[in-house]
């Protein structure tokens, strides 16, 4: 059979393709629908949080920080409850990472504050002596891309039925709603409202001035995103 295949490139290629393709089908398809179902209490990202997530991706924070807590005592002691599949339902792309040069950030919103992040992103070794993380000072001056975040929200709402403007069940039995503006200017206005809350806890005067002038520096969006990680 193999001698026969080796003289017939077309059938050879088909045989190779079938051999390599079906493992993927069997591994990925069976749990596909189940794995994308959100857990109770998991809400989609707001415009500002999503813009912050883009800043996180732009700087490849995921190259050094994981967002996946494994079910070991040492990990739950350090980072909180181990990760559940449904908690990632609105993560496109996933940001689990593959290397922990720095600590896991899956629930960093539970134990770090806006103030802490501001100081740390400006001078990591000043907050954590011995830290090898670079400073991210340019995020204090670069302006966050709210337009693209809003475009992504519209896309995922239409394509994947992400429940913006719909009641989302919370753990205590109540519901919450993540609003999605119906225009770009509306999106900018709501992002700025959120940004003001973050900037109020910050001390960098340039950042405060920018927000007062209606602009959102990347650092504000990034902190909003990290505060949402719980």
């Amino acid at each position: 059979m193999f001698h026969w295949l080796e003289k017939r490139p077309f059938f050879f290629a088909v045989a190779v393709f079938v051999t390599i393709a079906f493992a993927g089908l069997i591994e990925i398809l069976p749990n596909f629908a189940q794995a994308s179902r959100p857990t109770i209490g998991t809400a989609p990202y707001s415009t500002l949080e999503l813009a912050g997530r883009h800043v996180y991706i732009k700087n490849s924070c995921n190259a050094c920080h994981s967002q996946l807590i494994r079910p070991f005592k040492a990990e739950t002691d350090r980072y909180g409850h181990y990760s559940l599949s449904g908690e990632y339902a609105y993560d496109r792309p996933f940001l689990w990472g593959s290397k922990r040069t720095g600590p896991d950030l899956m629930r960093v919103g539970n134990y770090r504050t806006t103030d802490w992040h501001e100081n740390h992103m400006w001078d990591p070794a000043g907050v954590v002596p011995g830290s090898i993380m670079p400073a991210y000072k340019w995020t204090f001056t670069n302006i966050a891309d709210v337009d693209t975040a809003y475009a992504e929200q519209i896309t995922i709402k239409n394509a994947f039925n992400v429940p913006y403007n719909k009641p989302i069940p919370m753990k205590d039995g109540s519901t919450t709603t993540v609003a999605l503006a119906d225009s770009l200017s509306g999106a900018h206005a709501s992002a700025l409202e959120e940004a003001k809350v973050v900037a109020a806890d910050m001390k960098n005067q340039n950042v405060k001035d920018a927000v007062a002038n209606g602009q959102i520096p990347e650092i504000v969006a990034l902190i909003a995103y990290m505060n949402s990680l719980k």
Binding site: A23, R70, Y88
Partner: protein, 492 residues
Amino acid sequence: MENRPLEYDYTVAKMFMFSTIILGIVGMLVGVILAFQLAFPGLNLMLGEGLAEYTAFGRLRPLHTDAVIFGFTLSGIFATWYYVGQRVLKVSMAESGFLMFIGKLHFWLYLVGVAAVVVSLLLGITTSKEYAEFEWPIDIAIVIVWVLWGLGIFGLIGIRREQSLYISIWYYIATFLGVAMLYVFNNMEIPTYFASGGIGAWYHSVSMYSGTNDALVQWWYGHNAVAFVFTVPIVAMIYYFLPKESGQAVYSYKLSLLSFWGLMFVYLWAGGHHLLFSTVPDWLQTMGSVFSIVLILPSWGSAINMLLTMKGEWQQVASSPLIKFMILASTFYMFSTLEGPIQAIKSVNALAHFTDWIVGHVHDGVLGWVGFMIMASLFHMAPRVFKREIYSKSLMTTQFWIQTLGVVLYFTSMWIAGITQGMMWRAHDEFGNLAYSFIDTVTVLHPYYTIRAVGGLLYLVGFFMFAYNIYKTMSARRIEENELQTASPMAA
């Protein structure tokens, strides 16, 4: 006429040889910079505060991985294809104007793609998915480049004189098909600009998969990008170049059959070992573990087949630096394909995952196996492509030992770093509290990060020696056709 050997046309092979060397230097140089940044974080500011955004670890890291995978390695794969393909199919590129045109187009479009990747990654335009960071416009360009290569492969096969496909051709075909399938499915994404009616950045896209599914597809891709870029085509190279250079027949045809079909069948299942203890289903994690162990069989099958090809001719390892490179490459292949399955055992993975041991594993594979084999292939090709003897044998030998030392420093330091850090993360004191804060587990790594950076630097130095040797070969003593039968001619 009938008895004259075919005149093969190496125009495209030469082009890709150059890009192999240039992109190898770029990828490895960035890697060395990253390694030193981890040991000496001040280097994140090496070009000053103003350019800090473009020299920080996070921005450079994808540039390193992608330059080595899709720059250095892919160029090496293409260069060897345009050399090996003609020779084992017994047909010259010069016989088809169409295939020659496709080949050149393949090269130039590839270069455009590489340039776009470099610029976009430096600007922070990335999807964040490892080895699939490119946004949709570049993805489309990559698909076109890949289709052109496919046209080249199957076009050449279509006009072949030798009816039976040699083992290397099997592996090149598998590379083409495997990467095509993986790349397309992992990069399913929706451009947000068009989906939102023209809002935001035109190049931005959002993944069609979310969370756990996205992770599953990504590591099905990520693991098998290793399979179909770092393993399958490199095996294609050694199956051609080792028998050619040593003048020995491949030890066993049956073993090569078993290894090929075994590798094709088993490799794809093993992706789950990147997701152990994550939120993907348990059965899948176990499958990933089990198939990773089974993977030893076809991997060692190829490697042993190559080592036994040298049966009775082991003195060549001592006398020829080119054979040295290839034998050490297959040895590192065996080593790396034993280490991988060990790390895929759940209890070992619990310790090793997220640590530098994984980084060490990748690098003993890529530096020791992929890098050595590609350089050996180019060394073998150079006299035949340029019709000149290799410039310096002693430079080659020196390079071999410097780089071997570099690889050994690299993986030993990363073993120690990884296991140390893994043990410290899980250590508890007598009250059951965590024994170390996270920063304790970072500062302890400084000596190992320094050793690793030195190891990487040695490898880079060796690579510069390789580039110089190839460059000088282009003006070395001319040689005759009859000097090119088996062992490559080298000047002292």
